[in-house]
């Protein structure tokens, strides 16, 4: 009786896993098929002949996917650096500096978490247009490179756990605030900084609505926008479209499998997205 139960549980879990993985596997399989095989054989058939033509066409072709990958990574890295620097400074102020107005400002930071990103799209578009930055690389980066109230919260919580004696001791040795941050606070906060790095890179690799709105044409297209435009341009040419989705998905799958535990931890402590 006991083993049938266990077998039943594994059956359910296995079916769930198959259902979860199927779209990924179908996308990858199809990306390496020729159009002839795609039209003639079952979708489950192994790619034969195995071709990288679709991938090559997507990367170099009219959608300029290769360029999009570079633009996306560059934007994500700049946003990450900006957010980390700004948020570490701000979080330290909130955690360890007793300044006038701290409570009120912290409350303001808290309240910004309620603002849905969708609501900001229209006014940011207007602001970027007025600033002459529409359809520029900086329009992808600027709105996100300074502030991340979420990062400030997570970092502040973490900083508050650092023993004050360590900071006081450094102070007695003549360290100023920046020395304390660089030599004590940041090295002791590596886990939370790693978490924020993962979250930021992943969410900006995946982000779609803002880049879709603020950029036009292939010049500053990010990966998601390039995927969407490829799909409307080559509607029905599924081997090509699946090559694009595979390129958009596989880097994250690899990243996820390498940093599995950190990812799972990051999601549970932050809620993510």
């Amino acid at each position: 009786m006991k083993w049938t139960r266990t077998a039943g549980i594994y059956l359910v879990l296995g079916l769930g896993a198959a259902f979860t993985l199927a779209p990924f596997l179908l996308s990858i399989l199809t990306a390496f098929k020729t159009r002839e095989q795609f039209a003639g054989q079952s979708v489950l058939a192994w790619p034969d002949p195995f071709t990288v033509d679709n991938i090559a066409r997507v990367l170099a072709g009219p959608a300029e996917f290769g360029r999009a990958v570079v633009v996306t990574l560059l934007a994500a890295v700049l946003i990450l650096i900006g957010q980390l620097v700004c948020s570490i400074l701000a979080a330290y102020a909130f955690a360890r500096v007793d300044f006038r107005g701290r409570q009120v400002l912290f409350w303001v930071y808290l309240s910004t978490l309620m603002i849905p990103p969708v609501v900001l799209i229209i006014p940011l578009y207007l602001m970027m247009t007025q600033a002459g930055l529409r359809n520029s690389f900086w329009s992808l980066v600027l709105p996100f490179a300074f502030a991340s109230p979420y990062a400030v919260f997570l970092l502040r919580e973490y900083f508050r756990g650092i023993p004050q004696e360590l900071i006081d001791a450094a102070r007695l040795d003549g360290a100023n605030t920046l020395d304390v941050l660089v030599e004590i606070v940041v090295p002791l906060s590596k886990p939370i900084i790693a978490t924020l790095t993962l979250i930021t890179i992943v969410s900006h690799w995946n982000s779609f609505m803002w880049p879709l709105v603020v950029t036009t044409g292939p010049q500053w297209r990010v990966v998601t926008v390039a995927t969407a435009s490829l799909q409307s341009q080559f509607n029905g040419n599924w081997t090509l479209v699946m090559a694009a989705t595979t390129l958009a998905l596989v880097p994250l799958l690899v990243l996820f499998l390498v940093f599995q535990r950190q990812f799972v931890r990051s999601i549970t402590i932050s809620g993510f997205k």
């Binding site: 769930g16 979708v43 969708v118 609501v119 900001l120 605030t177 879709l212 699946m242 993510f272």
Partner: protein, 298 residues
């Protein structure tokens, strides 16, 4: 704010204020310019008329009148509420079920957990495009495999449930993670005491575990309701709001109103309404469940 609570000497406090604001400045610049100011701008824009190219002109309450009277936005609100009502309960139940199977110490549980989370971390737009093919009527993977010709995305009766299913598929792993953490946090002594009192596995689950999961349940419901309310990427990839506006969720409506119909004023009104709805939802949960949520976050 516990740490440096001792009242500082006035001189030190003044110096602290300078240090505090110097540290805060870059981040505060971002919060003001790219979060607070845009909220003001969107409210201002909701009283203007703008077509992206021409000049911006004041039109008073015209946008509000037109948005609230023409039924398009009403339909979007209804569609969104229907969508949330489909997605949230179903993914919560599946996530709870998966979590209870994954917290039995069976070998391989970690791998299943990892697999279930995969869709959550990937780009919703790219996954939406993959599903667009899978669900395509003639050469889609699903129809060719089952040998049917079901119009998953173009039949007005099927489109919204289908989009909801894709979103549920994306979110289940996320929900599962939180319920797993919640279940693993239940002290073993409580379960042991209940077993000694004669509770079977079913009673244990419904009468002990579910009530103790309330903080987790609450957190999951609030975050998933708020995110489902803003769904855009999957809708853009799968249906673009169609057929016949049956999947025209609020976020998609705002986008099309602004960048296909070029009526930024109307789009701004919709954004303001969405902001109010989501702030009310968030504040309601903050007020009523403050203690439970802090307990959960700690």
């Amino acid at each position: 704010m516990a740490s440096s609570r001792r009242r500082s000497h006035p001189g030190i406090r003044r110096r602290n204020t300078v240090t505090g604001y110097a540290l805060l400045a870059p981040s505060l610049f971002g919060v003001v310019c790219f979060m607070l100011l845009p909220v003001l701008v969107v409210v201002w824009l909701s009283f203007q008329s703008w077509d992206l190219i021409g000049p911006i002109s004041f039109v008073g309450l015209d946008n509000y009148r037109s948005v609230l009277s023409d039924g398009v936005f009403g339909n979007s609100l209804l569609v969104t509420i229907l969508f949330v009502a489909l997605v949230v309960p179903i993914q919560t139940l599946i996530g709870l079920g998966a979590a209870s199977l994954l917290t039995r110490d069976l070998p391989g549980s970690g791998w299943f957990r990892t697999i279930y989370v995969l869709p959550w971390i990937c780009a919703p737009l790219a996954l939406g495009v993959v599903w667009k093919w899978i669900l395509a009527p003639t050469d889609g993977a699903l129809n060719t495999l089952v040998g049917a010709r079901i119009e998953w995305l173009s039949d007005p009766a099927l489109a919204l449930p289908t989009v909801a299913a894709v979103v549920i598929w994306t979110n289940v792993g996320y929900v599962t993670l939180f319920f797993m953490a919640g279940l693993l946090n239940i002290p073993e002594q409580i379960l042991e005491a209940a077993r000694i009192d004669g509770a079977g596995p079913v009673a244990l689950f419904w009468q002990i575990k579910i009530p103790l999961l309330r903080p987790t349940m609450f957190f999951v419901l609030v975050t998933t309701v708020i995110s489902a309310f803003q769904v855009f990427d999957q809708v853009y990839a799968l249906t673009q709001g169609g057929p016949a506006h049956t999947t025209d969720v609020v976020a998609a409506r705002i986008y099309y109103e602004a960048f296909s119909a070029f009526d930024l004023g109307r789009a701004a009104v919709m954004a303001v309404v969405l902001l109010v709805i989501l702030v009310v939802i968030t504040l309601a949960q903050q007020l009523y469940f403050r203690r439970r949520v802090t307990y959960e976050m700690d």
